[in-house]
Amino acid sequence: MMAVIDSARKADESRVRAVTGLRDRWANLPYGWRISVLFAFVIFLYALPGLEIPLIKTPDTDFTSVLFLCAVYVLVAVGLNVVIGLAGLLDLGYIGFYAVGAYTVAILGSPNSPVVIQYPWVVCVPIAIAVTMVSGVILGWPTLRLRGDYLAIVTLGFGEIIRVFALNSDITNGNRGITGVPVPSEGTWPEWMDWFPGITAGRPIFSVSNVIGFYWLALTLVFICMLGVRRLERSRVGRSWLAIREDEDAAEVMGVPTFKYKLWAFAIGAALGGLSGALFFSKQTFINAQGFDLFTSILWVAAVVIGGAGNQLGVALGAILLAYLPERFREFADYRLLIFGVALIVMTIFRPQGLLPSRRRKVELEDRAKEGAVGE
C-alpha cells in the first residue's frame, strides 16, 4: 500500500515540476507577450456567453447563468482565500458573511422588506460591504485569539447563527424571505450592443431571464478584486499575513501585530463575501434562509483547498469546478458532496498543496510534514 502511495506521489512530483516549469516559462516570456495573452484571455471570458463552443455548454441550465454562478463563486473564493490562503485562518462559516451582505441589500433595497427605505443598488452595496466588514470584526475580535481548530469551530457556529437568525427574525421576513431584491440598474441595452448574441436593444441590462449583464458585472468585479488582493498580498500587509500563516509565534517576536492583521484579513475576507452575496441575490431577486446552508460553506473551503490555497488562480479554478461541474454533469449533481469529499481526501494524501499550488505553501506543507515525521 505504502509503495503504491509512494509511486503515485513520485509521479505527482514530476507533474508538479512540469507545472512549475510551465510557470517559469510563462514568467520568462517578454512582457508584451504576457500582456497580449492575458488580454486575449480576458476578452475570451467576456465573450464566452456569445460563443458556441460544443461540449462545455450546460445541457439543462442556461449557460450564462452558470457562468455567472462561476464568477460569483470565484469572488467568494478570492475572499475566502484572503482568510484561509493568505492569513492561514480556517473559516468554516464564511457563508455567514455572504448572507449578511445579501440580506443587507435585500432589506435596504427591496420594497417588500420590513424596512421601508428603498435605496438603489449602488447605495445598498457599499453599505452591505461596510456592514459585513463590521460583522467580520465583531466575529473576529473575541475569536481571533483562538487558534486552528478552535477558530474553525467558532466560525462554523457563526455561519449557523446567521442562518437561524435569518430564518426566525422579523427583519428578514423569516422563512418567507424577501422578494424584489434590487438589480444593479434599471437601464436597458443600447442600440450599439445589439450585435452581441443574446442581447436585444431596449431590453433591461439586468434581468433574471437574460443574465449577460450580471455576468459581465460579476466578471469585472472579479478582476478588480483579484488585482486588489494581489496588490495587498505583495504589500507589507501581505508579508505580515504570510509570517502569521507560516509561524504565528515567530511572527509575533519579529514585531508583527498579529491580532491586528488577522482582524484585517477577516474584515477584508468578509467584505468580499458580502459583495458576492449581494451580487448573487440581486440576480435571484429573492432571498430566504435556505440559500445559506453550512454544506455550501464547507464546499467553498473544499474548493479553495482543492484549487490551491494561497494562489488566486488556484482558488479560482477550484471555485469554477465547484460551480460548473454539477451543472455540466447534472446526473451527478446529487453526488457533489460525495465527489468533493473524496476529492478532498485524495488531494490531502497526494497533493495537499492543491491543483495550482502557491509555491510558498508547498514548502510550508512539506516542512510541516517533515516536522510531523520527526515527532512520530
Binding site: 510558498r360 510550508e364 512539506e366
Partner: protein, 236 residues
C-alpha cells in the same frame, strides 16, 4: 540593569510552570540560563518576549515595566528572540526571513547594512540567499534564526537553545558567533541544555530547576561547582 525579572510566575492553565523567577541581565553581558528538560527555561524566555502572559511579578526592561506589553511592541523597545528550535519561516527565502527580522524598522539603508552584517557573520546564509528557509539543514536554520533576530538591532538578544540538534563542530561555531555578537555590543540572554558550552562562554549564569532558580553565579564558578558538575556537566 537592562532586564530585570522580579518574582515572575507563569502558568499553563492551572499548572504553574514558573514559581517566582527573579533574575537580572546587565548591559553588555552574556547571561546563561541552564537546566534540565522541563525546568522552565523556554517558558522564562517566552515570558520575557511576551509570548506567554505573566501571572504575578514584574518584568522591567531598560527602565520600564513591560510586564503587560504586547510581544510586538517589545520588539520595538529592543527585545528580540530567536525562537526555540525551528522558528524560521519555511516558505520564505533566506533573504525574506532576514528581512522579516527588520520588520519594525524603516530605514532601508540601515537594513541593507544589517543584512550585510548577517551575511558576514554567517557566510553560509549568503550562499543560500534565494533558497526557501524550510529547505535548509538544521544548522543553517539555526544560523538563520540568530541572524534574523539580530536584524531588529536589539538591545537584548534572547537565544532559545541555539545549539539544539547541531553537530559538535557547529556548536563551537555558533557559540563563537554569539560571543562575537556580544562583543559588537548586544546583550545576550541564552537558554541552553549544553551547559558546558554555555557556562564557559557566559559572564553569569542561573540554574533553573522545576520552575525555580536554585543557583546563580559567574560562568566559571558554576563550571566548577560540584553540584552543577554532577547534574549538568555529566562528570561525576
Amino acid at each position: 540593569m537592562l532586564l530585570e525579572l522580579d518574582n515572575v510566575t507563569v502558568a499553563y492553565g492551572r499548572i504553574e510552570a514558573l514559581h517566582g523567577i527573579s533574575l537580572t541581565v546587565g548591559e553588555g553581558e552574556i547571561v546563561a540560563l541552564i537546566g534540565a528538560n522541563g525546568a522552565g527555561k523556554s517558558t522564562t524566555m517566552r515570558a520575557i518576549s511576551g509570548l506567554r502572559p505573566v501571572g504575578k511579578g514584574k518584568i522591567r526592561f531598560d527602565g520600564d515595566d513591560i510586564t503587560k506589553m504586547r510581544a510586538d511592541l517589545r520588539v520595538v523597545r529592543g527585545v528580540s528572540q530567536s525562537p526555540e528550535g525551528r522558528g524560521i519561516f519555511p516558505g520564505m527565502t533566506v533573504r525574506e526571513n532576514l528581512e522579516m527580522g527588520a520588520y519594525t524598522r524603516k530605514l532601508r539603508s540601515e537594513i541593507d547594512e544589517d543584512l550585510q552584517r548577517a551575511f558576514d557573520l554567517f557566510p553560509r546564509l549568503k550562499e543560500r540567499e534565494r533558497q526557501a528557509g524550510g529547505t535548509l539543514s538544521g544548522g543553517e536554520q539555526q544560523m538563520l534564526a540568530v541572524g534574523r533576530a539580530l536584524m531588529s538591532r536589539p538591545k537584548l538578544l534572547l537565544l532559545d537553545e541555539p545549539s539544539m540538534g547541531l553537530a559538535p563542530m557547529l556548536i563551537q561555531q555558533i557559540f563563537d558567533i554569539i560571543v562575537e555578537i556580544n562583543q559588537q555590543g548586544t546583550t545576550v540572554l541564552l537558554v541552553e541544555q549544553n551547559a558546558q558550552q554555555a557556562l564557559s562562554r557566559a559572564h553569569r549564569a542561573y540554574v533553573l530547576e522545576t520552575g525555580r532558580i536554585v543557583k546563580e553565579g559567574t560562568g566559571t564558578d558554576l563550571l566548577t561547582d560540584p553540584a552543577v558538575k554532577d547534574a549538568y556537566l555529566g562528570v561525576a
